[in-house]
């Protein structure tokens, strides 16, 4: 007998059909993963299973949970089902918890809603459950006192405290660091076995899918394109989209050989400390070392990666290199010139360095057109092109990143995330800088788009020598586009060396954990050879 059975579910919002005939069947104790790119309808399918549909959505078809048709059930009865029979874990552990309530009371609340037991007893059960999910802190702590991984454990505890038969997890590890992700996935697997739950996991990360799921459902544009047992699907993909998806996530690019000449960027024993709030009114102000004696060089034409987990000081380092923030001691020089020059920007430095940011949605002024956006850096040039020449420069930059001349007059909201990242690269390239900083530049993109952007970076490197610092938490991406890599932890560079050497033979203990924790796709074979 199946635990969850979605039959021919079609869903339309405001007359537009978004899900088309989706059917998913899962057994008790089974882990089913729904995967696909953004906009494929995977989250909506999960929400439908809880009958939590957006306002104005009309669903057709049937969803049976334990023989009850969810879509034909009244809201009042659904409230009794949610939390008791189905638990849900959301992506963002930072916002999924109420900041003004202790974690213990938040878990106890779920129990009190569904069961008539005393508060003391509920608190006791909540504390037990928090221990069960591997949280070793007091239930009287508040969410802000916990790390991201710990918060996600609290969210999981809330979802499973009533021993639901089905746990739905929507991108449960996407916001977490790789080492934390590995532990949370382990916990989820363990819980499924010991509680005999079904786990429906929604994720875009195919490596996670391959590692955890018994069955994989691949969605595209609101349709299921392929459903199969994991071991069957990985070695025998039938649908071309599934293959394209797996190909893209293991995408490797071919980089030209590196030709280096002379030092371009030199970072010399840089220290950056922030002072934290006082311990009490008369207490001392503790310092936090965001950058602790960091030194490295980047040569002309060299492609360097920087890897580290959140809070390791990557962003502080980026800001320091970009010269938008000063450091307490040490020097950062670009071609011999200090990058930080007080309130007056040093034009000589500005001319040689550009940046591409992570979030394609906040990187652009929404009120300017594309031509103005990508022409912005031009003003640092001594004799900046004007009129016709400026238009030509804009066209060339657009052409370099594979966009059309007609795109110049559009506003940024008319572009997709991948196109925006191309525009960001066009903006960085227009003054032909010596150094580009890619700050998590592909982390927010879907795998297929990410593959295209990586291809673009490789293509640009073939055209002309380009030095860049590629900052990312994603090891596989860094591995393919860099020659040298630095591993950062707690403000220190703990290991650096040639990328391949570091990845195949890491020396530092932390590097080893990091590489081991990153989920990997197994070697994949194809039913039909990919074209």
């Amino acid at each position: 007998m199946s635990l969850l059975n979605i039959r021919d579910l079609s869903l339309s919002i405001a007359g537009v059909e978004i899900l088309h005939n989706v059917s998913v069947d899962m057994q008790p104790g089974e882990i089913v993963a729904i995967t696909g790119e953004s906009g494929s309808g995977k989250s909506l399918t999960a929400l439908a299973a809880m009958a939590l549909l957006p306002r104005g959505a009309v669903a057709k078809g049937q969803i049976f949970l334990d023989k009850v048709d969810i879509l034909a059930t009244s809201e009042l009865e659904l409230c009794a089902i949610r939390g008791r029979k189905i638990g849900m874990v959301f992506q963002e552990p930072m916002t999924a918890l109420n900041p003004v309530k202790t974690i213990g009371s938040q878990v106890a609340e779920t129990i009190l809603i569904h069961e008539r037991i005393s508060k003391t007893e509920a608190n006791k059960r909540a504390a037990d459950m928090l221990r069960r999910v591997g949280l070793e802190v007091s239930p009287l702590r508040y969410p802000h006192e916990l790390s991201g991984g710990q918060r996600q454990r609290v969210v999981i505890a809330m979802a499973i405290v009533l021993r639901p038969k089905l746990l739905i997890a929507d991108e449960p590890t996407t916001a977490l660091d790789v080492t934390t992700q590995a532990r949370i996935l382990e916990l989820l697997k363990d819980l499924v076995v010991s509680f005999d739950m079904g786990l429906l996991i929604i994720t875009h990360d195919l490596a996670v899918v391959a590692e955890i799921a018994d069955k994989i459902v691949v969605m595209q544009n609101g349709q299921i394109v392929e459903t199969a047992k994991t071991e069957v699907l990985l070695y025998n993909m039938k649908h071309p989209y599934t293959r394209a998806l797996f190909n893209a996530s293991t995408h490797r690019v071919v980089m030209p050989d590196v030709i280096t000449s002379g030092t371009l960027l030199s970072v010399d024993s840089v220290v950056r400390t922030y002072s934290l709030p006082r311990n009490g009114i008369l207490g001392s102000r503790p310092n936090f070392n965001a950058l602790d004696n960091v030194s490295f060089n980047i040569s002309h034409g060299e492609r360097v990666g920087l890897v580290g987990e959140s809070g390791c000081g990557k962003s502080t380092l980026t800001r320091a290199i970009l010269g938008v923030e000063d450091v307490q001691s040490g020097w950062i020089k670009l071609d011999g010139e200090p990058v930080f020059s007080g309130k007056r920007p040093n034009i000589d430095v500005r001319r040689k360095m550009q940046v591409v940011f992570q979030d394609p949605y906040s990187s652009f002024n929404p009120r300017h057109r594309v031509d103005r956006l990508i022409a912005e850096p031009l003003h640092v040039l001594e004799n900046a092109p004007v009129g016709k020449l400026k238009d030509l420069a804009i066209l060339k930059a657009l052409d370099d990143v594979g966009l059309m001349a007609s795109d110049a007059k559009k506003f940024i909201h008319e572009f997709s995330g991948g196109q925006r990242q191309r525009i960001a690269i066009a903006r960085a390239l227009i003054i032909e800088p010596e150094l580009i900083i890619f700050d998590e530049a592909v982390s927010a993109l879907d795998v297929s788009v990410r593959a295209q952007v990586l291809d673009l970076i490789a293509e640009l490197c073939h055209k002309r020598p380009l030095a860049y610092l590629f900052i990312s938490h994603d090891l596989s991406v860094v591995r393919t586009v860099t020659d040298r890599v630095m591993i950062m932890r707690a403000g220190k560079i703990v290991e650096h060396g040639e990328t391949e050497k570091v990845f195949t033979n890491p020396q530092n203990a932390y590097t080893k954990t990091l590489i081991a924790a990153a989920p990997r796709l197994p070697e994949i074979t194809y039913a039909i050879e990919p074209v």
Binding site: M353, Q358, V380
Partner: protein, 271 residues
């Protein structure tokens, strides 16, 4: 467009229209007193009746609209022209001594009850429309300065501003090119609301005789003149009172409606 916005815009346009029309034509000259025709109730000749000097109330409302709108508009102008640059500057230099100075200066102005100080200013420098404009305008400065700063601060954290800094643009240039266009919506909404408050403030000052001086028509003074006549000729008080009410209501509805229209979060929620 929401119903509130439609009603608000309509009411606002009516009064702005009346003020504009008064430059070309008014039913009767308001500087000619015709005592024999005093305190007439609304009729075919005098649509809204006449006051205690026999002046046509409708004509006075039209001329008063001119005064109210001019005073409020200029006062809002003072607030925007001084307040917005101050706010932009404070946001660009967040945490600096000058930022603190500007913002604490704002707090100081906020700490005083605005109308009391406006009375003080007009009492010291003399009662006139110009002094009323300055007095009301001063209190608009911190409103716009604080709003601009608050709206600009999160924009300074955005990547496109960072990217402009990496391009070597100065803070002033970033403020004008990147920050200002992204806060214009907010300024329009706040401007509308401050405009309505300005009309109220002008009416209040005129009511106590510290606004525009006779013979310039003013809604506030019409109300003051009618005060003793309420029992015998209620329309003399009702007409200017309702006019002020409807104008302020219209502007507030328009401000709220514009805010909803500009705020994408609310717009999505309604769709």
């Amino acid at each position: 467009m929401s119903r509130g916005l439609a009603i608000g815009t309509f009411l606002t346009l009516v009064f702005v229209g009346l003020a504009c029309l008064s430059f070309l034509w008014i039913p009767y000259d308001i500087e000619t007193l015709e005592i024999s025709n005093k305190l007439k109730t609304p009729n075919a000749q005098n649509w809204l009746g006449t006051d205690h000097f026999g002046r046509d109330i409708f004509s006075m409302i039209m001329m008063g609209a001119r005064t109210s709108i001019a005073v409020a508009l200029l006062a809002v102008g003072i607030g925007i022209i001084i307040g917005v640059p101050l706010g932009l500057f404070s946001a660009a230099r967040q945490g600096s001594f000058l930022d603190e100075l500007t913002m604490r200066g704002n707090d100081l102005i906020f700490a005083f009850p605005s109308l009391v100080i406006a009375i003080l200013i007009t009492a010291v420098f003399g009662a006139s429309a110009v002094n009323a404009i300055i007095a009301i305008g001063i209190f608009n400065i911190p409103v716009f300065a604080r709003l601009t700063r608050a709206a600009a601060l999160p924009l300074w954290e955005r990547d496109f501003v960072m990217s402009a800094r990496v391009c070597g643009k100065s803070d002033a240039r970033i403020s004008i090119e990147h920050i200002l266009p992204n806060i214009t919506n907010l300024m329009i909404v706040q401007g509308t609301i401050q405009f309505s408050l300005g009309i109220l403030a002008e009416a209040s000052l005129s009511y106590i005789g510290l606004g525009a001086q006779p013979p310039t028509a003013s809604w506030g003074r019409m109300l003051a003149d009618a005060q003793t006549l309420v029992s015998i000729a209620p329309h003399t008080a009702l007409v200017p009172g309702l006019t002020i009410l409807l104008t302020v209501l219209g502007l507030n509805l328009m401000g709220d409606g514009l805010r909803d229209l500009f705020d994408p979060r609310i717009r999505v929620g309604r769709a």
